[in-house]
Symmetry: C2
Subunit: 150 residues, 2 copies
DNA sequence: CGCCCAATTGATACAAAATATCATTTATAT
DNA sequence: ATATAAATGATATTTTGTATCAATTGGGCG
């Protein structure tokens, strides 16, 4: 049995909860449940997805709290909305480093995550040149995947 | 008087209109008006912004057509929704190359556009390694700007 | 140029998504 | 354990986006 992805998931949650607490916010049932849903390996959830899955885990959690939590987590850069589909944000959980990169196939919408990549050095250079203190980045590459290019 | 930004703007519009036509769509008043608004130098407009500004230019253009146009332009990758603010897409016009990069200061939300940058070579490499045909990319760097870091 | 006709539009009605309000509950520091 | 400010869930409401459909229009063709 493969526990590595669960380990990754739980450490992601732990890190996220720690960041929440450090920022002075309480760890509530609603917030923990939303984070549990977001940290599952099926990432890139829309708000509707999150509502549905939170509902399944704990029907007592209200809609409003889910939206409030998404907003708070975004503000703290713990999650980041992305735009795979027009007009419906998909949320991803950002690692503590604040760096994330993925490839999207515009035909089939398949997402390939790019773990740590060489982009980071380049970004450091840009940041230095512009005189800013970087806190993270999001890189989206649009590319027709092998399956779709046949 | 500085006309360069107007030149850039009108060529952006021209290129966008050409891409529309090439894809087999008609150049209509609604579509042209939406593109005019989007191509102004104050980029990163929300749909509400677009509706407001289109309304100001030509009250005859209907809400539904504005949404339809935003959807069509997104589908054709002529514009791209981004998520600078939680849950409200901001639209940017993509150049024909399909490459775009900007820096956002999470404190003041100031956006610094990065013209052509060195990222592109690196992206080509990644694309080749993954065996995909890239059509563009969007890079967002989050960084505290000099004004905010004082 | 002026006709044709599918594509597109605008108006209206409708559905879905997000937000404000507020009395009640809960997490946490002490 | 208790006090208390933060956070919640339920409800009502607003905002945002979509479906429908008769009327209009852009652009190719003669």
């Amino acid at each position: 049995m493969d526990t590595s992805s669960n380990d990754t998931m739980s450490s992601l949650i732990d890190s996220a909860l720690a960041r929440l607490r450090e920022a002075g916010y309480k760890i509530t049932n609603a917030r923990r449940t939303v984070l549990e849903v977001l940290c599952q390996d099926n990432q890139h959830l829309t708000s509707a997805d999150v509502i549905e899955q939170v509902e399944a885990r704990d029907p007592a959690v209200g809609r409003a709290s889910i939206f409030r939590t998404l907003e708070l987590l975004t503000e703290l850069a713990i999650i980041r909305p992305t735009y795979l589909t027009p007009r419906t944000p998909n949320y991803i959980v950002m690692p503590e480093s604040g760096h994330h990169a993925h490839i999207i196939c515009p035909q089939c919408n398949k997402i390939t995550e790019l773990g740590d990549c060489e982009i980071e050095d380049l970004i450091e250079q840009i940041a230095e040149r512009q005189g800013l203190e970087i806190t993270g980045h999001l890189l989206e590459i649009y590319g027709i995947c092998p399956d779709c290019s046949d």
